[in-house]
């Protein structure tokens, strides 16, 4: 009955003794009207499409008036840390819980942003992103797996996405 007693006494119950790794709740890429270009959710905080859309709209409007074009910006909304950066008509967001290391979250955003910049050959805008949506989706897939961070180095992510190395299994004749 008194298992958690010490934790309460230490006030740790509120800080919550965290035993998991940094985890990402979602990565969003929205356009300048807040519409989806590509999004990926890893947590169950937003179970339905409408709750996801509501969250996107909320985050988009809350950050719209800020200047996040040179450096990534950060805010705390509804117990989530949101790191964001804008480029042309694209808005990049990474969301994590409020007990995450902000700098780790920021490195995920930076990795995503750098990789997209490379993949779109510096034409970071909505049209280019949609025309290369396959690359954007692969990029998201290479950064985070089920909330766990896989890679945050932009050039490495981009390389993984585009790596069209030769299929080692195929017979020479097909190469």
């Amino acid at each position: 009955m008194h298992v958690l007693r010490d934790m309460i006494e230490e006030g740790a119950i509120t800080i919550s003794v965290k035993v998991s790794c940094p985890s990402i709740k979602n990565i969003l890429l929205l356009d300048s009207e807040g519409k989806r270009v590509a999004v990926k959710y890893f947590s169950d905080d937003w179970p339905t499409n409408s709750s996801k859309l509501a969250f996107e709209k909320f985050v988009f409007t809350k950050t719209l008036k800020t200047n996040a074009r040179t450096e990534a910006e950060i805010t705390l909304l509804e117990n989530n840390i949101i790191i964001y950066k804008f480029a042309q008509d694209l808005h990049f967001f990474v969301t994590g819980s409020d007990d995450e290391n902000e700098i780790v979250l920021a490195s995920v955003l930076q990795g995503f942003f750098d990789a997209v910049t490379l993949l779109l050959r510096n034409n970071v805008d909505k049209r280019e992103a949609l025309e290369n949506l396959d690359l954007i989706l692969l990029c998201l897939d290479e950064i985070v797996d089920g909330g766990m961070i896989l890679e945050t180095n932009g050039p490495l992510i981009a390389e993984k996405v585009t790596s069209h190395t030769i299929d080692a299994d195929s017979p020479l004749s097909e190469q």
């Binding site: 009955m1 008194h2 298992v3 958690l4 007693r5 309460i8 006494e9 230490e10 740790a12 119950i13 509120t14 919550s16 003794v17 965290k18 035993v19 998991s20 790794c21 940094p22 989806r36 590509a38 999004v39 499409n49 996801k52 809350k62 800020t66 450096e71 990534a72 910006e73 950060i74 805010t75 705390l76 290391n101 902000e102 700098i103 780790v104 979250l105 920021a106 909505k126 049209r127 949609l130 025309e131 290369n132 949506l133 396959d134 989706l137 692969l138 897939d141 797996d145 089920g146 766990m148 896989l150 890679e151 993984k160 790596s163 069209h164 190395t165 299929d167 080692a168 299994d169 195929s170």
Partner: protein, 880 residues
Amino acid sequence: MAQPLVKKDDDRDDEADYSPFMGIEKGAVLQEARVFNDPQLDARRCSQVITKLLYLLNQGETFTKVEATEVFFSVTKLFQSRDLGLRRMVYLIIKELSPSADEVIIVTSSLMKDMNSKTDMYRANAIRVLCRITDGTLLTQIERYLKQAIVDKNPVVASAALVSGIHLLQTNPEIVKRWSNEVQEAVQSRAALVQFHALALLHQLDKGKCSLTFGPMSLDPLYKSGNSTQSGDRPFYDFLESCLRHKSEMVIFEAAKAITDLNGVTSRELTPAITVLQLFLSSSKPVLRFAAVRTLNKVAMTHPMAVTNCNIDMESLISDQNRSIATLAITTLLKTGNESSVDRLMKQITNFMSDIADEFKIVVVEAIRSLCLKFPLKYRSLMNFLSNILREEGGFDYKKAIVDSIVILIRDIPDAKESGLLHLCEFIEDCEFTYLSTQILHFLGIEGPKTVDPSKYIRYIYNRVHLENATVRASAVSTLAKFGASVEELQPRIFVLLRRCLFDSDDEVNFYIISYIASLNYVVRDRATLYLNTLGGDIEIDKDVRDFLFGSLDIPLVNLETSLKKYEPSEEAFDINLVPREVKSQPLAEKKAPGKKPTGLGAPPSGPPSTVDSYERQLLSIPEFANFGKLFKSSAPVELTEAETEYAVNVVKHIFDTHVVFQYNCTNTIPEQLLEDVIVIVDASEAEEFSQVITKPLRSLPYDSPGQTFVAFEKPEGLPTTGKFSNILKFIVKEVDPTSGEAEDDGVEDEYQLEDLEVVAADYILKVGVSNFRNAWESLDPDSERVDEYGLGQRGDGLSEAVNTVINILGMQPCEGTETVPPNSRSHTCLLSGVFIGGVKVLVRLSFGLDSTKDVAMKLAVRSDDVNVSDAIHEIVASG
């Protein structure tokens, strides 16, 4: 169809909202997906179609089960293609389609082949896909490959396997636990990310063990194990401190944060961490500034002095472009600031308040409140600030935070009372929130009369009587009456005002007005009448009036309403003490399967009486029970038989001070039988403190006509004695002739096993609500308070299950709606009220918290009229 996905280098049309997916339509794309079945696969075309499918899914489009299955099957054909780009898209779409178990089997072999491929990219991705879609049975088949992959020389493959392991640990821990050797080996990997993922997995596998490694992120899971296992001598402190000099900001910050999070950290230990955080405060990167100021803000709650060195940097952050950073800086400064800096600080904040969101404003208001309590001499500027922001635009929560703060300041700082009350008066002149208006009026009624010049508040209050909705008008009338009762020289003026209130509604006033107490419009006039009567004439304002006006009404309003409706005008005045205080639970629907049995035979079924009043009357009419005294509580009926059995029996537990009476309500459901001399044989061997005193048999139990038999026990006085009782129904059966309805003369003795019955602690507590928990709590002696904490372990449904369990164990009345836990809450406070046997009032405050492992912790604080009862409540919970 043209190929819109291929990059067009030639003239783009410059339409602003051009999209390659314009006009995309699910049906058409599903049609296109047929190309997957072509014998000659066009890899590029297939990739495009998959992209379109993914686009649809990403936009929130859903596929029906049939559509998803169809797409999935045709996608599996694409494993024939050796095109790498296409294979990547295939992996993606398989994950998105999340196939069912029987579909997974179709791709398993293809994926397993890829897992053993020489191409690293295939291996890494196939592992991730397979682990995502697989179930436990398949996992044992691929386990060998996964273990290999963990120690794969390619870091991407190793990371893929390790991350998959972390996910699988949630669903198949027993399998992942077998991999610890491989994971240990991966910790030694030269690739930082592999180290990081391996450490993360290892940490979750075995929280005690960990090895030291240095990498940008590998510190993260590492220190956490250090923090959770070590707290005394802290061998990790030196390591953390050395990390403060690491080249990566991420590590520096994590180490600094870890140090500030240490249990019982000392100022000395904090210093190096604070120093690096201070450097971050002037970083050009908003993320670093935010991270640092947020951490320092937290430190300031416990070690305000340790943070004062950063005050200058902190002040420059008040004008930070990023309002989150500015808010955190301000609230930190408010916590660390000294008396002399308050005025300067307030000036800076005033400029800043107008352009931040409400949620930030609330944080600031709360910080200002605690600052004011810290430096009471500064109340003037702080109160001014609060009243200024009170006049500005804002939502309910924000306004409530301000009003609450002003109220607290008025209570705690006597000098602030006059100005504070006037600010509140001004606020209600133009307040759009009924709740706040009534709260303020109530507060005015208590505090206003105690001021030097109570008359100056009358105008504000009386204005409300005219200009507001019914709820506020009613409150205003009450407040006026309170002034009248407390301040003698104001009485004549108040009478005049109250009389005017009588014209509040213009319909014909009649006596039955009181019957419609539910209608608030009437209440206004009603209250005015009432107060006139109580105050009027030359009656001295005695204690009763005071109690009536200022005391809290601890009667459930529903019961009062029912009683008032029943009340018929007569010589006898309405006696509020006769209103039952027990909160009625929803009447249990008696399941008697209506319609199945023919009714009308014998007497019409007279269901057992269900209200306390009638129970008491009935019990006291039985001579044997007459000397048991006043009935304390009757439980809801507990069924002792399954539904649809020959005999239906339920029991009601009646608790008296020194006795317990079990009332067995029996129903005979066999038309061909008449039961006689029905008794219940009770075995109380598991209820040692109870001794049986009386058994009252039921002479005759005809078909479908319920009757009662009673068993009474003696028990120790006043104590919540508990026990378990087993019951056997014993009776004489007589056959009934179905045609004549006559019973035979000779009967046979028979028994019928009933279910066990328990007397639990909750039987000794009455559900009695209070209207204002806070007032009630504060009116009880703080010395009677007993506080303890309990760990409730894991609960399936988060907090709400834990909350309900404890409420049920205690059997008390939840107050102010605190029994409902908002979804996804990590903490919750539940307020309970009740009356313990012996008429002892008990209040309970439960604070629940949820930690990351879903363990529920509970803090239980009890106050009551009797310390022993407070202890008893803890015993009940501890043994529950």
